[in-house]
Assembly symmetry: C2
Homo-oligomer: 230 residues x 2
DNA sequence: TGAACTTTGTGAACGTGTGCACGAGTGCCT
DNA sequence: AGGCACTCGTGCACACGTTCACAAAGTTCA
C-alpha cells in the first residue's frame, strides 16, 4: 500500500554525495547533536542547502518543516539506502605496495567493509600477514569469494596484471570492482566498476596549475614535433 | 595574431578524460602506432567516439579528416594542455600507512610528479627513508615547498589531522591539494582541491549491490528508530 | 487560538554534458 | 583529374544536474 518508496531510482550525483552526508551525520550524532537543518548539513558538506534537501528528498520525506532532520533517524535512512545495514566483505587482489597499505589501513573494516582476503600471484608474498589477514595464492580466490560471500573485489595490481585480475574476480563471482590500476577494465555490463587513479587526479591538478600560471610553458619548442606526412 | 588558442576554457568533464586519453596514446606510441582514429581511441578509453572528437576539438583541430590523429603529435598537445611539459614536484603530509605506500609507489615520479618531500608530526617517523625520500618533520614544510618550488600537496594524514595539514600546506604556499583524508577540507577559494575517498567509493558500490539484491534488507526493524518527538 | 517565524519539499529555469547526424575536408584509386 | 571511401569537427536535441524561489507544513509564543 505504501507506494513502494524503495524502488525510486536515485541519481548518480546524489548517490555519490550520500556517503559524505552519512559521515557528517554520524559525527554529529556522536557529538550529541539531535537535529540538523539542510543549511547546517550543507555547510559541513561544502555544498548548497537546496542540493542537500533535494538529495535527501529522494530517500523520502524524512525532515520536519520548521525544525530540520533528526540526525539518528536520517543516519538510519541513509545507511539503509546505501545498503550499509550489514557488512560487505571485500577481497583484495595484489599484495604489493598498495595492497599492503589497503590491508593495513584499518578504516576498511571499521566502515563495514572487512577484508575477507588478500591474494597475489607471487609465491614469495603468500603467507605473510598484512593487517591481520594472511596473503593467499590467487588460485584460492574462488574459494574465498564463495565461502566468505564476497561481492566486492579490489584490484590493487600493477596495470599490466589488472585486466587478468578483474577477469578472475568476475569468474569467481564478484559483482562490483574497485580498480586502483591505471587502465580501463573490460568487464561484463552487469559488473559495477569504480576507478581510483592517482595519476589522473594529479594531472587534473596539473591542468589547473598550468592554467593558473597563465598557460605559459617554460620552454616551448618553436616547432611542434609534427613528424610524419610531408 | 593567432586568436589566442590557449585561453579557451576546457569543460571539467573533458579535463578529467584527457589523462586517460594521454595514457592510451602514450601506450600506442610506445607500441609503434603512428595514427589513431577517434573510433579506435574511444574503444580503448571505453567511451563514445563523438565524445572523443569533441574532447579533442577543445585543444584545437589536430586531427586529419579521412585519417585520424597522429599519435605523437596528439600526445604532445594533450601534455601541453595538461601542463605536463615539465615536472610538478609534490610534497606528502603524513608518513603513515598511506603516505608510505604513496612514497613507495614509483608511479608518481615516472608520471611527472616527483616526491619532493614527506613530512610528519611524529618524531619517531622522522628520519626513516621511504621510496628514496627521507621523512622530515612537518616544521620543515615551508622550506621544502619554497626550495623545491612545490605547488601540489598531498594530504595523507588521518581525518583528525587533515584540516591542520591543509592549513599548513596553504600557508607554505601550495596552491593545489590532493586529499586522501575522509573529511571536507576548508581552504581559500583560490586553492584547487581534489579528493580521493576509499570509503565513499566502496559505499557507492554497496549501494549498487544492495539495489541489485532487490533492496531487500536482511533484518529490517519493523519500527524504524524514530526516537524523539512524541 | 492565532500570528509570526522557521525550514522543508519541489516546480521551474538554467547550465553542463552527451550523443546523433551530417557537412566538410582529406587520401586513395582508377 | 575525378570519384569514392573515410574520418574529423560541430550544430542540435536531449538528458542530467544545479540552483532559485516559494508554497506548504510545522513550531513557538503571546
Amino acid at each position: 500500500m505504501a507506494p513502494d518508496r524503495n524502488r525510486r531510482r536515485i541519481p548518480d550525483a546524489t548517490v555519490s554525495r550520500l556517503p559524505v552526508y552519512l559521515r557528517i551525520l554520524s559525527e554529529q550524532s556522536a557529538a550529541g547533536v539531535d537535529s540538523i537543518s539542510s543549511e547546517g548539513l550543507a555547510e559541513l558538506a561544502g555544498v548548497n542547502a537546496a542540493k542537500v534537501r533535494k538529495d535527501l528528498s529522494y530517500l523520502g520525506s524524512y525532515g520536519t518543516r520548521g525544525v530540520g532532520y533528526e540526525v539518528d533517524y536520517l543516519v538510519y535512512q541513509v545507511r539503509r539506502e546505501l545498503g550499509l545495514t550489514h557488512d560487505w566483505p571485500v577481497v583484495i587482489v595484489g599484495a604489493g605496495n598498495l595492497g599492503q597499505a589497503l590491508a593495513g589501513y584499518g578504516g576498511f573494516g571499521e566502515r563495514g567493509f572487512p577484508v575477507a582476503g588478500i591474494v597475489d600471484v607471487d609465491d614469495s608474498k603468500v603467507g605473510s600477514v598484512l593487517g591481520g589477514v594472511r596473503v593467499r595464492h590467487i588460485d584460492e580466490l574462488p574459494q574465498i569469494v564463495a565461502t566468505k560471500r564476497v561481492n566486492i573485489g579490489v584490484v590493487a595490481t600493477p596495470g599490466s596484471a589488472a585486466q587478468e585480475a578483474a577477469d578472475l574476480l568476475v569468474q569467481a563471482g564478484v559483482t562490483s570492482i574497485l580498480n586502483f590500476a591505471p587502465i580501463v577494465l573490460t568487464v561484463p555490463r552487469s559488473i559495477e566498476v569504480r576507478k581510483v587513479d592517482l595519476a589522473v587526479e594529479l594531472q587534473i591538478l596539473s591542468y589547473h596549475e598550468q592554467r593558473r600560471a597563465g598557460g605559459v610553458i617554460h620552454a616551448v619548442p618553436a616547432t611542434p614535433p609534427r613528424s610524419a606526412t610531408a
